[in-house]
Amino acid sequence: MSPHEVYPMTTRSTPERLDEAVQTLLAGERPTVEPELRPLVRVADLLADVLRPLPASRRFEADLGRRLAADGGRRRVTPGRLLAAGAISSAAVGVTVTAYAVWRSSRRTPALSHRLLQR
């Protein structure tokens, strides 16, 4: 073996090679791996078999679907709702400004009448 001989370098780490093997396994194909990774791939195969997809019950699916639809309906912003919200907030601002003006004038009026009386 010459010291200058060039070998193809394995650039990927062991966890990367294992992850790729798992990906192949999950895609339903048999991965090709080096001997040291074979026991781990066997465990991965076992896990893929045991942790099978598990459907939720249809009743639960229907119940939660209805709940989400109701929740989504409350969150929906429609032009009608926007107009109503705009009208209500404009009215609220108007009432507040008017109330403030009335309050200010009621405070100012006695002082003004007092000054007029002193003249």
């Binding site: 790729e20 192949t24 026991p39 465990v43 896990l47 045991v50 598990l54």
Partner: protein
């Protein structure tokens, strides 16, 4: 091998695009969230079930996950993280909270609670499969929490190392190392 390696990312990309279109629809009209709900219900439920080991707890966690996702959807932006990873981050947090609550109540279910009917009708096969499931799930339950989560997200839901990293707040490299350690740990525990 290169063909295999190329197909999986291509599938993920197609899924990502399909999700993105559905997310945009749901952001414009929350009623369209139904598409994403139907697409991910079984996967979120399976993840919650294998993580919590109880049907009722899994349904509760699934419900909380989808309600939280619907509420947070207007804030979702396509900035590299897939919708799937975003959804499973919510599911992961919900499951973690449920586990914390249960620890306080001290009602951790045993691996026996994972019993469910096997698809084959052969009684000997059913018994052998149930025994194998119990053994594997028992070993899985003994793993440190983060390693267990990596295994569940990888095998139950098929999330990539990058997506799992987004869920757990780890880099893809750190996630692969966690998976490697988890499988090594399980192999040692399952060795006859």
């Amino acid at each position: 091998m290169s063909g295999r390696a190329e197909r999986a990312p291509a599938r993920r990309l197609a899924q990502h695009d399909a999700d993105l279109a559905a997310v945009q629809d749901a952001q414009a009209d929350p009623a369209a969230f139904d598409v994403l709900y139907r697409r991910y219900l079984d996967r979120v439920y399976a993840y919650a079930f294998y993580a919590l080991g109880d049907h009722h707890d899994a349904e509760d966690a699934t419900e909380r996950t989808f309600l939280a996702a619907l509420a947070a959807l207007p804030g979702f932006r396509d900035e590299g993280a897939s919708f799937r990873a975003w959804l499973f981050r919510i599911a992961h947090n919900t499951v973690s909270n449920a586990r914390r609550t249960r620890r306080r109540r001290r009602t951790e279910p045993l691996p026996e609670a994972f019993d469910r009917p096997a698809p084959d009708a052969d009684p000997a096969g059913l018994v052998a499969r149930a025994e194998e499931m119990r053994r594997v799930l028992g070993a899985l339950a003994e793993l440190p929490e983060e390693r267990r989560q990596v295994v569940l997200l990888r095998f139950v839901d098929g999330l990539s190392a990058r997506e799992i990293g987004e869920v757990l707040g780890r880099s893809p490299g750190a996630t692969r190392v966690l998976l490697h350690r988890a499988l090594r740990d399980l192999e040692a525990r399952l060795r006859p």
